[in-house]
């Protein structure tokens, strides 16, 4: 019986990959530890080793095949005495994807986008939108530089900075030691002296080491100096839960940073917002915390194919119009809210979905106007509930639109425990579209 070699998952979020290169051919003897192939994911190129011994009986995909799903057999090794006819080669579902990232079906945007209907659009992943935003701003302003762990030679731990070192060189795309407190402080000092740093945290979990400089040094400097010392600096990176990476790598810091005057906090959902808001953030003269989401990096969205696409900071976006309930969300939860809204439509409930986009300053006007129309509110977020973004949204609504409410506002958020590793517990802990549906039904009596 031949042993199947499966397409391995090389990262917690990998769903498929490209078989870049075979390093063995049919008939080769292999033993445990031998490298069989090079696999490219959207983050990196990795080698696949065998743990079995035997003869390569068949290679099931040609080198260069893209879009091979995790756990698909890619080769067969005959074990001791095994003789079996090689099966025919399998055509990959998609062999020539221009972009290496996974296109995932996205609930269609039912509301007018920020651009004109006649504007040409292209499909692009959130990852590449962020990269393009940085590249354009690096081109535009000599004072902009990017600094962080693995941002240069490695091309970014999540490949967000791919290609930037080649174009801009080591002076402006700088690999740091693993020293978050130090390089966040260094970059803030450089910003005080007039440069415009982009600081990438490999994840915002690690920015805890640096939070003193983000808050005490960057956010407060302008005020403490009576308006003399400004810091035009962007702290960016993935925030919140990825997939199966456990409690210390899955923390949503939205409410932490949004609590601090002097900071602006942005948490985009789609590629167009990621690009337009990151460009705005880099140009902004204030310190900005830009919260990305690893689970969105590989998702493709339409983005206007125009030069210099910049969006205003502090404006929420109505992603879907509705009349019965307002759902607020940011970052990845916007996708969940849109899925929930679609399901609710089937139940006869018309949900309006507001993508907050910027958490500080919060666009309270858009929220209030929506609630005045729908008279109901569900505030969804990925992080913990207590003292959270949803709590703030509800406080604003209760304060400014109390008389318009027909039911108590409700929060949807992560369960009040550190994020567990086990797949079932993780899914139980994180808010799902079904939780939003349930919350809406509770206050709509349906």
């Amino acid at each position: 019986m031949a042993i199947e070699i499966l397409m391995p998952a090389l990262s917690p979020t990998m769903e498929e990959g490209t078989l870049a290169k075979w390093l063995v051919k049919v008939g080769d003897e292999v033993k445990s530890g031998d490298v069989l192939a090079e696999i490219e994911t959207d983050k990196a190129t990795m080698e696949v080793e065998t743990i079995d011994e035997g003869t390569i009986e068949a290679l099931l995909f040609d080198a260069g095949t893209a879009g091979i799903k995790v756990n698909t057999p890619i080769a067969l090794i005959s074990g001791e005495g095994s003789v079996s006819a090689p099966p025919p080669k399998v055509e990959a579902a998609s062999v020539a994807i221009a972009n290496i990232s996974t296109p995932v079906s996205v609930v269609s945007n039912l509301v007018e986008p920020d651009w004109d209907a006649n504007t040409p659009t292209i499909k692009i992943t959130v990852r590449d939108a962020l990269r393009d935003a940085m590249a354009e701003e690096l081109r535009r302003d000599e004072k902009v530089f990017l600094m962080g762990e693995e941002v240069a030679q490695y091309q970014g731990a999540y490949k967000v900075s791919r290609g930037l070192l080649d174009e801009f060189g080591p002076k402006r795309v700088i690999d740091t030691p693993i020293t978050e407190h130090g390089f966040a402080g260094l970059a803030t000092g450089a910003a005080m002296a007039g440069l415009k740093p982009i600081v990438e945290f490999m994840t915002f979990n690690f920015a805890m080491q640096a939070i003193d400089h983000i808050i005490n040094s960057a956010a407060k400097a302008l005020y403490m100096s009576g308006g003399q010392i400004s810091t035009s600096i962007v702290f960016r990176g993935p925030n919140g839960a990825a997939s199966r990476v456990g409690a210390q790598h899955s923390h949503d810091y939205s409410s932490w940073y949004s609590n601090v005057p002097g900071l602006k906090v942005i948490a985009p959902y789609d590629a167009a917002d990621a690009k337009g808001l990151l460009k705005a953030a880099i140009r902004d003269p204030n310190p900005i915390v830009f919260l990305e989401h690893e689970m969105l990096y590989g998702i493709e969205f339409d983005i206007p194919d125009v030069e210099d696409y910049v969006l205003p900071i502090g404006k929420a976006k109505i992603r879907r119009e509705g009349t019965d309930v307002t759902i607020t969300a940011h970052s990845r939860m916007v996708g969940h809210a849109l899925k929930a809204a679609e399901e609710l439509e089937g139940l006869g409930i018309s949900a309006e979905v507001i993508d907050l986009r910027t958490l500080r300053p919060l666009d309270t006007e858009t929220i209030i106007n929506s609630v005045k129309k729908t008279n109901r509110l569900v505030a969804a977020e990925e992080g913990w509930g207590p003292m959270g973004v949803g709590a703030e949204v509800i406080a604003v609504v209760v304060d400014q639109a109390f008389d318009w409410l027909d039911a108590q506002p409700v929060r949807v958020h992560q369960k009040d425990c550190p994020l567990p590793y086990a797949a079932n517990l993780e899914a139980l802990s994180l808010p799902q579209p079904s939780d939003i549906v349930a919350a809406v039904r509770k206050i709509c009596n349906k």
Binding site: T188, S225, G226
Partner: protein, 340 residues
């Protein structure tokens, strides 16, 4: 020569024989003037604090004057300065007016941070003085960033980052040392070792009390300096600044110094022997040092000094008057300077 002995007050010697060869009469008088200005300013600040006109935390620089005066004498106008919360002296020597500083201490609209910063949070973009930081050790990473900007802009400037012996135990200091040395950043780290991290004596807070050695594993040259001798300080600082400016990377100076007062105004400093400050004041005072040598060697006369004493007294009296008569910030200023 830079002294390699500590300013413990017991065995350190005043190195006086080369003074007149190193510093001109004008330079010595200027050092005297600046140190005296800091001393009188701080005494006045202490007095106003006692009267309730200055509030919060107020850390006086009395005793340590030679450090910032000596270093500043070695730098030029392209260089940046950053320090911690014991910052009044650094600001005065950077050329920020005594009026603006004192008015900030009293929380007035005319203060250099318009009354919003207070003693520990003062800045002057114009004088390249980047604070005035209340978080112990933060200025070391920020100061390394100022050096990064000098290198990035290729403007030939050097960053002078001051911190205390207490801050020398913060992790970010070593994160900064590593990057500064790795990237050859033009920064001079100046440890003002006044022997006490608030109330904890150095031999109770540091496994290695010779702090100039703290850069060794980062390949940063370190030097111990008699921080009570302004000329020794200036000479060492010149070496360090030249090194940094020439592209060779960071340099570490440990200034052995002493503060006469408590850590802050609210600290009675009962953790040190009663006669220690007295002894230091009588035998190692940086201002007396210059005065005595200059007079002994006939470099200047009592009359020369009297002119300076009078000038300094007037500046401080004027600053105190200004700081007490200036208006408080208008209520409308509460919500400004949060965002640009």
């Amino acid at each position: 020569m830079a002294a390699k002995k500590g300013a413990s007050g017991k065995d350190a010697k005043i190195i006086d024989n080369s003074l007149s060869n190193i510093a001109s009469r004008e330079e010595l008088l200027e050092y005297y003037r600046q140190m005296l200005l800091i001393r009188r300013f701080e005494e006045k600040a202490g007095q106003l604090y006692g009267m309730g006109l200055i509030a919060g935390f107020c850390h006086l620089y009395i005793g340590q004057e030679a450090v910032v005066v000596g270093v500043t004498a070695a730098q030029n106008e392209t260089d940046s300065i950053i320090t911690g919360y014991r910052d009044h002296g650094h600001m005065l020597v950077a050329g920020i007016s005594a009026r603006e500083i004192m008015a900030e201490l009293t929380g007035r609209a005319t203060g250099c941070s318009r009354g919003k910063g207070g003693s520990m949070h003062m800045f002057s973009q114009e004088k390249k003085f980047y604070g005035g930081h209340g978080i112990v050790g933060a200025q070391v990473a920020l100061g390394t960033g100022l050096a990064f900007a000098h290198q990035y802009n290729n403007d030939n400037g050097v960053s002078l980052a001051y911190f205390g012996d207490g801050a020398a135990n913060q992790g970010q200091v070593y994160e900064s040392f590593n990057m500064a040395s790795l990237w050859k950043l033009p920064v001079v780290y100046i440890i003002e070792n006044n022997q006490y991290a608030m109330g904890t004596a150095i031999d109770r807070h540091s496994s290695e009390v010779e702090l100039f050695k703290r850069g060794i594993s980062f390949e940063i040259i370190g030097e111990a300096v008699d921080g009570m001798d302004v000329v020794a300080v200036k000479e060492a600082a010149s070496r360090a600044i030249d090194h940094a400016r020439s592209g060779k990377g960071p340099y570490l100076l440990e200034m052995k110094t002493y503060r006469y007062r408590g850590h802050s105004m609210s600290d009675p400093a009962k953790y040190r022997p009663k006669d220690e400050p007295k002894h230091m004041r009588e035998t190692r005072d940086p201002i007396d040092h210059i005065r005595n040598i200059g007079l002994e060697k006939g470099i200047f006369t009592e009359d020369d000094l009297k002119i300076i004493d009078k000038e300094v007294k007037e500046i401080v009296a004027d600053a105190a008057e200004f700081a007490q008569t200036s208006p408080e910030p208008d209520a409308s200023q509460l919500m400004t300077d949060i965002y640009l």
